[in-house]
Amino acid sequence: MTHVDLISLINRHKKVIDRAYKGEIPSQIDTVLFEAEIFNKIGDRVVLNEAYIQFVNTMLKRVEYGVIFGKYAEELQQLVTYKKRFLETKDKTYLNRIRKGVEDVFLKFKRRDSDISILISRIVHENSLSLEVILDDAEHILSQMQELSSASIQTYDIFSKEIAGLSKEIDNLVIDVKIDIQRYSDNLHKYIHRLNGFILRTKQRKEQNNKIAALAQKIIIDDATELEALLRSDHEALHHTFGNRKRHKVKTVPAQRDIEQDRFAVIVRQLFTLEPHKTIKAPQAIYKKQRTEDKVVLNYQKLLDDIRKDIPKDLFEFILSHDEIGKFDTVQIKRSEAFKAFLMTVSEHREHTKIELGFGSHHIRSVAWI
């Protein structure tokens, strides 16, 4: 039989083989399966080939619990025997065997620690098996771990009491190993705790699933009166009474008594907070800074009084050199202000002025006060 023939054979009989793998004993098995030694007969009993089971377990990454947990009693017993022989014969070969034995036990502990950690993760995240199988596996692993926990204590004791004191080299090794065994033992307690929690949760889940299935069955045969009574009772305080609605529809119409409440407007405003409009910034006009000026004012009355007092021959010359004109800044303004005052004086006090024919200084007609 070629490899391909074997695969085809397995494929043709997959249902029978699958049932046998899951632990059932199929009643009708084709003789070719016996010829190919996929099934074996042990007396009257029919069993699936152990090699096949191992192969499938490996391929499906199923855990062989026996391989992980192993047995320590024999190895520990061997250590005690070697010690006895050594004490009798003083033959150092036994010391070497003891050292090797301690190392082997330690390596087993180490490998087992990581294996158990993986095993628990796998069973906690197992999705394809039924809860019954998962629970069964978990409980089995738990009992194995509890045994291991006491085995750890026993190993620790044997290392401390039996093996210590034989040679310095072994003593040093035992101290190192004991520290690690203690650590693995602590880990083991954590795994047990985790698995216990998982088993509890899975049992609850199983219970819950039974309830869900029972209630679903009642709904199907239209006999879910307890559920309906529960939903009807105190529904507003308990249940999701709001049906799904489509978007963009009127959501709700408040009752009259709600609208009449004093705070209604406040509450509505809180509920439907509006986005404030963007504030429009006023354009920033640039204004020139106003300069304050001291306004210089001519005291005409004082000028006139001085003219009357002084009786000048050249009126314009007098006005131009008067202190009141002297208040102004520039020559130009002085002349302009003086001319205005001159004109005013001449026009308003014509009777006191004598207008000469010729021009005085600054090309202005000579006027004398009289």
Partner: protein, 187 residues
Amino acid sequence: MDIASVFEVLSQGKIISSNSKKYSDYTRHLMDEEIFDEFYAAASTLGYILHGEGGYFYLSKKGQMSKDEMEAYISKHKDAILAISILRQLRPQLDRGSIIVYTDLIHEYKMQEREDSSIQNRLNILVSGKGNVDLKSAFDALFERLKKFDLIESVGDNDQDRYKVLDAIDYYIKIIEVSEPNSKESK
């Protein structure tokens, strides 16, 4: 985020879950106790009760429901329970936060359907009204229902295969636990 936006969503009759990616902003907002109380008071005055427990939030309506409303409300709860019963049969370990894969569930369904016809009954009742439909259409309808009940949410933006189970599943599980006293066949 503000109360108005949360009200907008909840008033559509949604149950929003804390582990929902889509509504995480809303649930974070409501987890602030002060905001929750403020919203509770405002909703209460408008005739609603705001519920927030176990990681999910929803509104219920004060006062009596009309006959139609009551029927719709009870039938919705029954449908959700049937949908959950299908999920739990296909994935016994399923819980809030679990990831379910559409194609895997169809595969599992086909395996179980042969041995247990009740699952087919439940699926048919759920998708009745769609006429005689093929398995894919039936599962599409089932997933649509689950989404509508706010029980699952697509994991990726374009992923039509993987969905996350939302916290709101606990709302229905609680009702089931109360409605069904401890079953006799528990081991």
